[in-house]
């Protein structure tokens, strides 16, 4: 079985981004970029399934600028076999990303697609669900456990009240939650080997998808800053303040 893993290049999770001065967009010039943490978990899970003999090929795909090749190379250094970059200069909406991924799914015919549940820049949590809809495949979102069985995959999902396990017919789309696994680090020899693995570049125009946006960011702003509070010296003072100043307890 082939596993397809979509990955995204995003601002590193340690960077605190700010709106640029005219409020037109987020200032991400010269900030550190990384693979989206949820995508990294997806890559790890695909590699583990291959190591268990449940899959024979792991293909990573990214949609973005030519710089996204870095994230594809690092995914291959972790163990992915080959990579596809759908090259595009502008940031695309989840629906369009899902449509482009649908084209790749049609072409590659994977038995399973594993991807992150959300990217930490747009915080949309949509692409996997939309890809599943377009391809008419079942979805196992927010997965904390994935078990491949004969013709099906059992996915344990993190839901608001606890956990839920679903059985999905393969092929299926799975999106990863943080607790699915702990991604490995790439060893230097693997980083060197990854440079020789195949990376196919497809210009976005070749896939025949209308990439015009339905939504438009009119402005961005910083959230309201909280005022700095005070330090209290002991529990008695804390209780007194909560009762008489903040009036949140009685």
């Amino acid at each position: 079985m082939k596993i397809l893993v979509p990955v995204k290049r995003v601002v590193d999770y340690n960077v605190k981004v700010r709106p640029n001065t005219d409020g037109s967009d987020v200032d991400i010039a010269n900030v550190k970029m990384s693979i989206n943490p949820f995508c990294e978990i997806a890559v790890e899970e695909a590699i583990r399934l291959k190591e268990k003999g449940k899959a024979d090929e792991v293909v990573v795909v990214s949609i973005g600028t030519t710089k996204a090749q870095e994230q594809l190379r690092s995914s291959m250094a972790l163990g992915a076999d080959r990579a596809i970059l759908v090259e595009c200069d502008e940031a695309l909406e989840p629906l369009i990303v899902a449509k482009l991924l649908h084209k790749i799914v049609e072409k590659e015919a994977p038995g399973l697609v594993i991807m992150g549940k959300q990217s930490i820049d747009g915080d949309n949590n949509q692409t996997g669900q939309m890809l599943a809809a377009l391809a008419n495949l079942p979805q196992g979102t927010f997965a904390s456990e994935v078990k491949i069985e004969e013709g099906t995959v059992a996915v344990t999902r993190e839901i608001d009240g606890g956990l839920e396990t679903l059985k999905l017919q393969l092929p299926a789309i799975v999106t990863t939650d943080l607790r699915l696994n702990e991604p490995r680090y790439a060893a230097l020899p693997n980083i060197m080997k990854a440079k020789k693995k195949p990376l196919e570049v497809i210009p976005v125009g070749e896939l025949g998808v209308d990439v015009s946006a339905r939504t438009k960011i009119l402005s961005v702003s910083a959230p309201e800053e909280r005022k700095a509070g005070i330090k209290v010296s002991d529990v008695a003072e804390l209780v007194e303040k909560l009762k008489n100043e903040a009036k949140v307890i009685s």
């Binding site: 909406e93 979102t141 606890g162 005070i230 330090k231």
Partner: protein, 309 residues
């Protein structure tokens, strides 16, 4: 045109998140319909019909909808969507699972975690873990939105008198099936709806020590939350996690105990009215957002706090 709100429920009770989503819906249009999709869920439809401002309840009661699997519910929503200008769901795990699938079936780009309605086509939503608020306009004919409950005051659960209309659906699909579930049980208020939240982090050190937080919570009639560090360390189950990747809460009082205050945690609680931080590290970032900070060992001060309340 009217607005459709997808009800959040467990086949017996309407979840409070729905009342918050209804408040957002009423800011768009006065004609608000509620879809209750489930199995043996008539009582949910009755509750929804009594919610303030609801004009009609659509009840899709079918065994194929029992677990609200996205593969069954999304086609139903997309079929109904043509009669509506907006389709809203709660930004819960259920809403996030289903709504994007329904939107894609209608070739529409949804908007997630909406925190403000500026107009019928302009909305505000947080991006980059809540560090940036984006004002976004949508040109889609049907706007699919998930609503962040804590950003809207709930409508009244009583006072409405909407008609309940049964809608026929087969809900048949063979893509997915429910297998089992494991729900955490608790007598405390629900985390996202609680007036007071007591949260513990890595500093609590063990699952046993969380008992201390439960005692404090019981004193305050509070819900108990946790940081990702506490969940990852196995102190508490993951449905207690507050943060960008967990639940978003905005209670009147949030007490962070042994939590450093990483960006991803702050994204889930920084809209709380009053924040109290108890941490022995004076430099912990949580103190930058706390209204009242107490630099002390939690094992000394939490028992004192329980005693003095």
């Amino acid at each position: 045109m009217s607005v459709l709100v997808v009800a959040e429920h467990d086949n017996q009770n309407l979840k409070p998140a729905t009342l918050h989503t209804l408040a957002a819906a009423q800011l768009i249009d006065a004609d608000v319909h509620v879809l209750v999709a489930g199995c043996d869920c008539k009582s949910v439809a009755d509750s929804a019909s009594q919610a303030s401002g609801v004009t009609k309840v659509l009840l899709a009661d079918n065994s194929g909808l029992e677990h609200q699997l996205a593969e069954a519910v999304a086609p139903l929503i997309s079929e109904l969507a043509d009669s509506y200008s907006h389709v809203l769901a709660c930004a819960t795990t259920t809403g996030k699972n289903i709504l994007p699938r329904a939107a894609a079936l209608k070739d529409c780009q949804p908007l997630s975690d909406v925190i403000a309605i500026d107009s019928e086509s302009t909305f505000k939503r947080p991006i980059y873990a809540g560090n940036v608020i984006a004002t976004v306009s949508s040109s889609d004919p049907i706007k699919f939105l998930t609503i962040r409950g804590t950003a809207f005051d709930a409508v009244g659960a009583e006072g409405g008198n909407a008609a309940v209309e049964d809608i026929a659906t087969t809900a048949e699909q063979n893509l997915s099936a429910f297998d089992s579930q494991e729900l955490a049980t608790s007598d405390r208020p629900e985390l996202t709806a609680a007036r007071i939240v007591v949260s513990g982090g890595r500093g609590v050190q063990s699952s046993d020590n969380f008992q201390l937080l439960y005692q404090l919570a019981d004193k305050l009639d509070a819900a108990v939350g946790a940081s990702r560090a506490a969940v990852d360390a196995g102190f508490v189950p993951n449905d207690m996690q507050v943060g960008q990747t967990g639940k978003v809460v905005a209670p009147e009082l949030y007490i962070a105990i042994g939590i450093s205050g990483a960006i991803q945690h702050l994204a889930g609680m920084k809209d709380s009215k009053v924040i109290v931080a108890i941490n022995k590290d004076e430099e912990a970032p949580i103190f930058q957002v706390a209204d009242y900070g107490l630099v002390a060992d939690l094992f000394d001060v939490v028992p004192q706090l329980i005693e003095q309340l």
